[in-house]
């Protein structure tokens, strides 16, 4: 069974506190995060493909008392597979890397991605030393992941199996400086 991506994002972010920092990957996951409700503690990506997990790592190391959720697509994760090895060495307990896997490059015309032909992101994450790797394929597993996110205290990787569909775009703030400044201000970081 494949989950619907907007509902999946909404379920993961419902009732989030101000201790959850969210880094959505460029393209669809950024639109999903915006659709779930704009938030100053979302660092929307419109580019930097392959960089989402590493932005999450730098943020998680800098803010050990908060929880960081990188929520990205399979294509974006595939471009930064090496970062899973890097994250596996650092083992931050406050970082969750969640991949919305639909097996296609949705933004560019639904071309098949490597995950459709056997590339196993959960297997890669596990082999990189991420001990908690979760396959989310139904509502119950999604609800469990949402709970884990609320009390996150371990490095976690999850693959969320979503349907290949393209809901209407919901575009968030696009000015990178503005997205950065409001995020830092919401965190209370000194200018």
């Amino acid at each position: 069974m494949k989950l619907e991506r907007r509902a999946a994002m909404a379920a993961l972010l419902a009732g989030r506190g101000d201790d959850l920092l969210v880094v959505p990957g460029l393209g669809s996951t950024t639109w999903d995060a915006a659709a779930a409700g704009d938030n100053n503690l979302n660092f929307y990506l419109w580019g930097a493909m392959g960089g989402a997990a590493m932005i999450g790592l730098g943020l998680a190391l800098a803010q050990p008392k908060r929880k960081v959720a990188v929520i990205t697509g399979d294509g974006e994760m595939l471009m930064g597979l090496g970062s899973l090895a890097t994250v596996g060495i650092q083992q931050p307990r406050n970082l969750a890397i969640i991949v919305f896997d639909n097996g296609v490059y949705g933004e560019t015309g639904m071309q098949p991605s490597h995950t459709q032909s056997g590339a196993d992101l959960l297997g890669v994450a596990r082999a990189c030393g991420i001990r908690t790797c979760i396959d989310v394929h139904d509502e119950a597993a999604l609800a469990d992941l949402a709970q884990r996110l609320k009390k996150l205290d371990e490095l976690l990787f999850a693959r969320v199996q979503i349907a290949a569909e393209e809901p209407p775009r919901v575009l968030p703030l696009r000015d990178g400086v503005a997205i950065k400044q409001r995020f830092r201000a919401a965190l209370g970081v000194k200018p």
Binding site: G47, M54, G58, A62, G82, Q90, G176, K180, L187
Partner: protein, 179 residues
């Protein structure tokens, strides 16, 4: 200055780079292992206040530094000249959002280079960085290291810029190929 002091100064420039990182409040150091940076990497790994992050490719470090700054910490990125090529698209992140990016780049392919495969990217480092709107501080002698590094720290974090200290191959010395 006598010959012995001169020698000491020539060899301890990585320690002066490390001192600059500490004075600058750097808390995360990303690096791809590199012979020219080996002493500085060792110093960072041994320091309790610095989180050393070994990377699989240099562009990871550009994203790491952005995440660190989002969370209120300062990061630095150590790499060899070939790594600059790996970073080009990820520099978009630093440029679009004006994230500070402090880089220390050891040069290959420009001075007594034995390996011709190092030459193409070596020759592109400065033009590429300039095209990417980085501020470039080229260092050729040991006595220039500390002042260039201080300036780069100021420029990166004070003005939210990409600042790159380029450590010339004549400073680092040639790689020994046969032992």
């Amino acid at each position: 200055m006598n010959a012995q002091n001169n020698n000491a100064q020539e060899n301890n420039w990585p320690d002066r780079l490390f001192d600059t990182l500490k004075r600058g409040g750097i808390r995360q150091v990303g690096y791809v292992p590199d012979a020219g940076h080996s002493r500085l990497i060792d110093r960072c790994r041994a320091d309790d206040e610095i989180r050393d992050v070994v990377l699989t490719t240099e562009e990871e470090g550009v994203a790491l530094a952005a995440g660190a700054w989002l969370g209120g910490e300062r990061a630095a990125l150590l790499m060899q000249s070939s790594g600059v090529g790996n970073c080009i698209n990820m520099f978009s992140l630093s440029r679009t959002c004006r994230f500070p990016l402090l880089m220390f780049i050891t040069m290959r392919g420009e001075w007594e280079e034995f390996n011709p495969w190092q030459v193409p990217m070596g020759s592109l480092v400065e033009p590429v960085l300039t095209l990417c709107e980085a501020d470039v501080y080229r260092v050729r002698t040991p006595d220039e290291v500390a002042i260039a590094a201080e300036r780069a720290v100021q420029q990166a974090f004070g003005n939210e810029r990409i600042a790159a200290v380029i450590l010339s191959q004549q400073l680092i010395g040639k790689k020994v190929w046969t032992k």
